[in-house]
Symmetry: C2
């Protein structure tokens, strides 16, 4: 169905039908000039926002709209956890070009709603409009945390231990796989079209790429999970990080943010950086250094945090958390100690959407 058949208000009605707020703090969702929220007593309100543009942040040749919606929601939810907070509400703004049908946008919303429902988030508003080219998705997530629980990037102190959840570099390897398949496919299609080989064109258009054995890497790229479980585990263990952020641009880049905002240095050990077996195999296949992928790959949406040295044992005992180094005095710099004992200054080579690369 063409979106123009039902217009803006018709589309909003279809998309938001049956949305029932789950949070007592959601007083009024979609349907007025503003959403109205009632923050719990003695909590602070956390706000994060992301703008995702087709052709820059996502490529619909290999991402379904449902997965895109899921990821778009998840990366914002992840920012709330990165402050040690609980995500509560979300607004969703979409600018939609003519190539999309009502059903496409419903798929996108399906993904959004799945991610929201997993983390107890209410969709409370947004904006739906048209676009000259491509799809734009702007998401804002609002969360809350008790005043004394909020964790910033600037609280790391010398001797704090540096921790990472999950493993790193897998999402980046997943992207490499998808990009490679796309390049191969486009090349084959171009050749078949040049030859006018109709049969081959049809064959190419019908086949699905074979990613057997690489499912984990693709999932990490296409369907990241915000680590609310880690935030919960830390709280249950009575551990409050001194600094925290989520890893969206790569470990190096994020660690440098914590160091510069906390006015400290750091020392991390290559051998301790958590890697999945598939990431290592795939990096080898691509002739890439797996540590570089883990340091600079980005999009892992794992949590990077520091805890006082006194809590080293407590944190090391928690599942899926790895201590990778410690915080030092600022003048000692930001150091990576390699397996061979060599030391390097960390560099932020993470994704920079406005750089020349």
């Amino acid at each position: 169905m063409e979106i123009s058949e039902i217009g803006e208000f018709g589309l909003i009605r279809r998309l938001t039908e049956g949305i029932q707020p789950q949070n007592p703090s959601t007083i009024k969702g979609v349907g007025d000039d503003c959403a109205v929220l009632s923050p719990a007593k003695d909590t602070e309100t956390l706000v994060t926002t992301d703008l995702l543009m087709e052709g820059i942040h996502f490529d619909l040749t290999y991402v379904s709209l449902k997965l895109l919606g899921y990821k778009a929601a998840m990366v914002n939810i992840s920012d709330i956890y990165a402050m040690n907070g609980t995500p509560r509400q979300m607004t969703v703004s979409l600018a939609i070009s003519r190539k999309f049908a009502v059903e496409d946008i419903e798929d996108l919303y399906e993904g959004l709603r799945q991610a929201c429902s997993k983390h107890g988030v209410d969709i409370v508003g947004g904006d739906t409009t048209s676009s000259v080219t491509g799809l734009a998705i702007s998401i804002t997530v609002i969360g809350e945390a008790r005043r004394e629980d909020v964790v910033y990037r600037n609280g790391a102190k010398p001797n704090d231990v540096i921790c990472v959840s999950g493993n790193l570099g897998a999402a980046y390897m997943g992207l490499q796989l998808l990009e490679r398949e796309k390049a191969v496919y486009n090349q084959q299609l171009k050749e078949a079209q040049a030859k006018g080989n109709k049969q081959e064109i049809e064959r190419l258009q019908s086949i699905q790429p074979d990613f057997a054995g690489k499912e984990y890497l693709l999932e990490r790229q296409l369907k990241p999970e915000a680590r609310g479980d880690i935030v919960k585990a830390l709280a249950e263990a009575g551990i409050k990080p001194t600094s925290m952020m989520d890893i969206s641009d790569g470990l190096s880049s994020e660690l440098m943010h914590i160091c510069s905002q906390s006015h400290v240095g750091c020392r991390i050990y290559e051998e301790r950086i958590p890697l999945d077996y598939e990431t290592a195999v795939c990096a080898e296949e691509f002739n890439m250094n797996v540590t570089t992928c883990a340091l600079n790959g980005g999009e892992d949406y794992e949590l990077l945090f520091t805890v006082p040295l006194s809590q080293n044992d407590a944190v090391a005992n928690l599942p899926d958390i790895k201590v990778i180094g410690y915080i030092t005095e600022e003048q000692k710099g930001q150091i990576l100690v390699c397996r061979d004992g060599n030391e390097f200054q960390l560099k932020a080579q993470g994704w920079n959407p406005l750089s020349k690369q």
Copy 2:
């Protein structure tokens, strides 16, 4: 300066330099995973968001980036006032294509900051990224209101009087003027180019359109003002509207929202709809019905609200507020009474970005 020279973080630093939070509720602005706000006791949090796309919502051939920033901020601030709240914080996300320089985005921010400073709003975060084509601006404004002060669209009751601030239709006439000048200019330029008339091309490129006598209409279109003054005046007069919204899509469309959400009808009088003299003159010039412009024009960002009949005199005495009719039982429909006594059903013909028009 090209944006790629300084990258995302360099640009954010330049844009947010010197921003000092004005609100005690702004605990942490730009620079962490989330902004952190501390809502005042017993207040509710209001959230509104808009996504503006180049080629759909704005045309940079006749809007400067500074004015665009000002308007983008103002239309969101207006939504907070429409809930009877006070705007406090704003997040700004931009997707920027290569045609923009650092200075362009600084101009846009200058406009945003001007609007924010006028209404005491702190810029607390956002996202800055690239775009394949054109500019996308996503703004979220957060406000607050005491629990008992929030005004929704659904509280209008039969016999309430219907009020409008300022005057209507001027912003729409301003748009007509700009569109006409653009069409004339493009036609002249095309002809000069076809003839290879270099002198004429240069002349055309250097002249400024003459809008003498029409400044008010242009200002209404290009530099709308959110009516915080009306919200303040109502509060000072001890009047709490029973329903309220701002007029962004046209009086008809907004009044129908209030009626459908409040389950009421309405009766408004053509002769009472507030019009500026320039709007009437310009409508005549364009051979348009000025009432139609006022009903369906949109982008006035005036406030439409209802108050109990008992407060009719109190509200009518306030400056810049006009009583245009009253609320009826739902089954009486939504009626416009014309100057000649004829009655018509109101129709929502306001701007619909996803319709076929």
